[in-house]
Amino acid sequence: MTSTTDPAAQAIAEIRPGATPAELRCSGAWVLHALGALERHIAELPVARERELHIDASAVSAMDTAGAWLLCRTMRRLEQRGATVHIDGLRPEFEALYRLVTSRAPAKAPAAAAAPGTLERIGRSALESLRGAVGLLAFVGEAAVALARSLASSNRMRWRPILYNIQKAGFEALPITGLLSFLLGIVIAYQGAEQLRRVGANIYIVDLVGLSMARELSPLITAIIVAGRSGSAYAAQIGTMKVTEEIDALRTIGVGPIDLLVLPKVLALIIALPLLTVYTDVMGILGGMVMARPQLGVSFATFLDRLGDAVSLTSYLIGIGKAPVFAVIIALVGCYQGFQVTGSADSVGRQTTVSVVQSIFLVIVTDALFSIAFSWFKL
């Protein structure tokens, strides 16, 4: 930076052999933006295997810390080859800078950490997953204990955040969940219509749409949307609070973070998700109904008439009964991943992603387990 703005100092930085083999001459502006070229030049420099070398730096017109470091590095490399190196002619101000850099610069370049091998990576990620699973289990336990304590003394229950969360995760999700399940109903009716028309079983479109929506698809699509909408928000909110030490602040005030942040979300979702599922049931079947009339000639009246026989109360309740289980999974995974955030903005993003992926994964796995269990009990 010293006189870098002076045009005379902008001469190209150079290092080249001097008059005798034991001499090197440096010239020009040894400043940051010139160093890329200079470095490559130094690497190609033929240096005589002399025991004693002189670097003549009297023609150096500008120097900054980076330039001083390059000079210092060049000298150290030459010395490593067993030569004794003297630097002469450096201007006093550059001399001071050079001394400062030489005295502070680390003796050897910081070694980059060796990249782990394949086996190590597999091992590490396996351990990581195991730790994650154990951590989630511990978190579920903690939340259960907190819930038990809250239930034991009813005045510890925080109703206001529960209601707030019901509004956020439930009421405000009505448009998107309704629209998507309506479209899903249309798609299923359209796909089914083709097959049913062939065998003349047009009226069974009601069974197809009604059962598949009420029993399987509507709870699943609702859970997936809520996981993407609210589960991620939980992770991001708690994660950011962790970064800004708000979680620690809560603890010191004597408010359990789980009591305040996790339980209301879990309870709110346990209430909101079944309600949303009832709503998406209605919207999905409505979608199927709208599609059945032009495709198969099943009128709305016939459709509704058949619906009561097609979808038994058990099937309907099984569909809705899954929702609270999904709700617990989504809320707990979202909150757990939020608490896993460590100190950086990057980590908030990472854990939010993990929370969505993990909760959708667990929701679908649980749904499959439900199917196996129901077929076992012949429900």
């Binding site: 930076m1 010293t2 870098t4 703005t5 400043v31 940051l32 933006h33 160093l35 890329g36 070229a37 470095e39 490559r40 900054d64 810390t65 980076a66 470091w69 390059l70 590095r73 101000e93 001071a96 800078l97 400062l100 850099v101 502070r104 610069a105 680390p106 370049a109 910081p110 980059a112 950490a113 460590t342 100190g343 950086s344 903005a345 990057d346 980590s347």
Partner: protein, 258 residues
Amino acid sequence: MSGNVIEIEHLDTRFGDAVVHRDVGFAVRRGEIFALVGASGCGKSTLLRETIVLQRPQRGSIRVFGTEVVGLDDEQALPLRRRWGVMFERGALFSALTVSENVCMVLEEHTDLGPALRVEVAAVKIALTGLPADAGPKFPSELSGGMRKRAALARAMALDPELLFLDEPTAGLDPLSATGIDELVRNLRDALGLTIMMVTHDLDLLWRTADRVAVLGEGRILGIGTMAELSRSDVPLIHEYFYGPRGRAAREQAWNRK
């Protein structure tokens, strides 16, 4: 080129109805450590942000290196921004990168250094700010407050700037770390010939490092000069600032050292 690195004239800033600056003007000379002081909320940081082209004043002129910066967009400001470094109050280190990567990133963007030399230059900068060599591979969240400030300074100096802006370089530090920063600022200026403009509340830092100080208050410059000159000022607000209980202690300490 004139001896002034920064020249501010007739600067007006308003947020809605609130007037922050009214006809503010001063100049920062090449090679000096210039400090901007004043009570909280008097618009010091706003003035700093306007100088580094993050915010736009309503009226007035700010020239840095002789170039008018008011109204520049990011692209136009780039050549200037490569010549100055900024250290933000809370460090603003990229939390996803290690300290060394934070410095390397700047070098990678703006120079054609090879990867190895980049890492070495970063190590030199980190060492210059007084951080131990093992701080390089650490993440900002693993560092103490004082170390984070130093790391932020290392990043600000990555491109060997001619001008350094420091926003509250000692805020939130213990006295020992703050003293370390005092010395660091002085040493950097002396060794590298930097011009430094800082915003601070720290009277000790002012006594120890600042060549000239401007006191901002009531939307204008109340006084400008060396600490010794300002401490003799009879403007009530300045007097209060320097002769409050904390100001007195810092001043006495400064006298005792002399």
